[in-house]
């Protein structure tokens, strides 16, 4: 079995900077980390590999220094990493990103399963995973909280919903996006970390994966950010309530009732 795990490098902090020209995120100068949801996707891939035998390939699209998240993936059990990096990808929205990643999956070839985090914590769209499935014409399962059975031809996925969950059986190939409940990611060993530093990470360009230039980057993206602004300001001041529990409760309930909130 061949499993691709899509990993995104995201800013560690929430101090976002926006390029006034492109209105897109400036990633230079901000500490970058592996998107937290992607760690669960990677852990699941490594567990499947340990149970059934599989090749696990970590894939990221980003600037040259995004190789760091691939090395972290190799340190916990991915067999190799591929960095999809090209100026031509810059400014891609979720449509163009899912197209570029799907081209890399095609280039890898013979892939059974693509695992992704349910969303990245910077964009928060949750659109790239199902987007890859659509680009490839594959099955999809999103918000997956468990994969109870995985065998050579198919798997079961427990999908989280607002009002409960459902369990479905899906034949490979498929794209699965995962939530935190799925597993507990392992911590890399020192030995694993050191070994991962020495691994050679190939960089694939748009030409390498045969991407149509009209479908990637800012010009290949159907959506365009036209304006960014701060969110509406929150409250002015905090009403502080202190005293006995009964007094506090009375004051709070009075406040909530006055504002017609209860």
């Amino acid at each position: 079995m061949k499993i691709v795990v899509c990993i995104k490098q995201v800013p560690a902090t929430s101090d976002a900077k926006i390029d006034p020209e492109t209105k897109r995120i400036v990633r230079e100068g901000i500490k970058a980390v592996t998107n937290p949801f992607d760690a669960y996707a990677l852990e699941e891939a490594v567990r499947i590999k340990e149970r059934l035998g599989a090749e696990v390939i970590a894939l990221t699209m980003g600037p040259p220094r995004a190789d760091m998240v691939l090395r972290e993936a190799i340190a916990v059990g991915a067999d190799r990493g591929i960095l999809l990096s090209d100026r031509a990808f810059g400014g891609s929205d979720t449509w163009a990103t899912s197209y570029a990643l799907s081209k890399a999956v095609e280039r890898i070839g013979g892939v059974d399963l693509v695992l992704c985090g349910k969303q990245a914590i910077d964009g928060d769209t949750a659109q790239v995973g199902p987007g890859i499935a659509a680009q490839l014409g594959w099955a999809q399962a999103t918000y997956v909280m468990a994969m109870p059975q995985v065998d050579e031809g198919s798997f079961t996925a427990k999908r989280m919903h607002e009002d409960g969950w459902d369990l479905c059986r899906i034949a490979f190939p498929a794209v699965v996006t995962v939530v935190k409940d799925l597993n507990q990611p392992r911590i890399p060993t020192l030995k694993g970390r050191l070994a991962a530093q020495k691994v050679e990470i190939p960089t694939w360009t748009a030409a390498d994966v045969g991407a149509d230039l009209s479908k990637i980057g800012l010009d290949g993206s159907p959506t365009r950010v036209v304006k960014t602004e701060p969110p509406p300001a929150r409250n002015k001041e905090t009403l502080r309530i202190e005293g006995s529990a009964a007094d506090c409760a009375a004051a709070l309930v009075r406040e909530l009732r006055q504002k017609s909130l209860v």
Partner: protein
Amino acid sequence: MLANTPALRAEYRNVWVVAEVSGGKVQKVTWELLGAARRLADARSCELWCVALGDGVSKETAAIHGYGADVALIVDDSRLARFDDEAEAAALVRLIGKYRPEILVCAATTRGRALIPRVAVTSNSGLTADCTGLAIDPESGDLLQTRPAFGGNIMATIRSANHRPQMATVRPRVMNALDFDPARKGQSISEGLLEGESGAFKTVLEVFHDEENPVNLSDARFIVAGGRGVKGAEGFKLLRKLADAVGGAVGASRAAVDSGWVPYNHQVGQTGQTVQATVYVACGISGQIQHLVGMQSCDYIVAIDKNPDTPMMRLADAAVVGDLYEIIPAMLAELART
């Protein structure tokens, strides 16, 4: 992606809302979306359509009209009883090709966020997730889609000028439904599911509805959430009592979930859910940034904590200094008095 030519774009007309359907019933968020989309349709002088796919959804036609849709486009099929996203996407892509809406709006729920990205990619459309504002640009007539980015620290306005339909998902509880008008009538169109559209990719084996949590976080007007300061699973029973007393839902910080006090589907924050309640009561939650990004757009925030000086106590509209094990029972007593 290749843009539509202006001539082709001009063929796209009308605003569509894709209904959120669970168990054959159209969910409340759909009425909110119809309220918002009604304004868009009026601004574009076009029709508002509501597309409902599911088993038994034709029973919802009158409600769909009553909440503001001119046309109910119904795909009522027992094969859609369970959530087969590939089947729904295939049917939607086909119907979009046939009827050509210029705007398509869907709820930013687990179902909507699974379905619409697949539809958008397949129909070569731009899609904006989790919009909190939708408006028509008076000059171009394009849809301006406003959404929070970076955990709500920036509001970005997004446009899809050259592709049709323009697609957006909208969070529950952001838009206002119109008052239901039983006298409002409309047109109804019935469409089928084609052979091969359903069951091609997945079989849903089992469905579980969480009856213990009748109010889910994304729909909740009132959320009572607990963190490390709740100190155990027992404490969450107290939070549940308060939530039940006000018809709300129970939320939790990552610390409480990771301690095993409450299941993951209650987690609010960066690796949980983003919520948009009218009132959010944070009990013993210190307010790490990863939690705040999931709840800071709630309208009114109450913090209850022994420690008077936490980020949550500073963010809150009302900060109650005290022991939640004393304050909450006192609140329950106070609420019981009329």
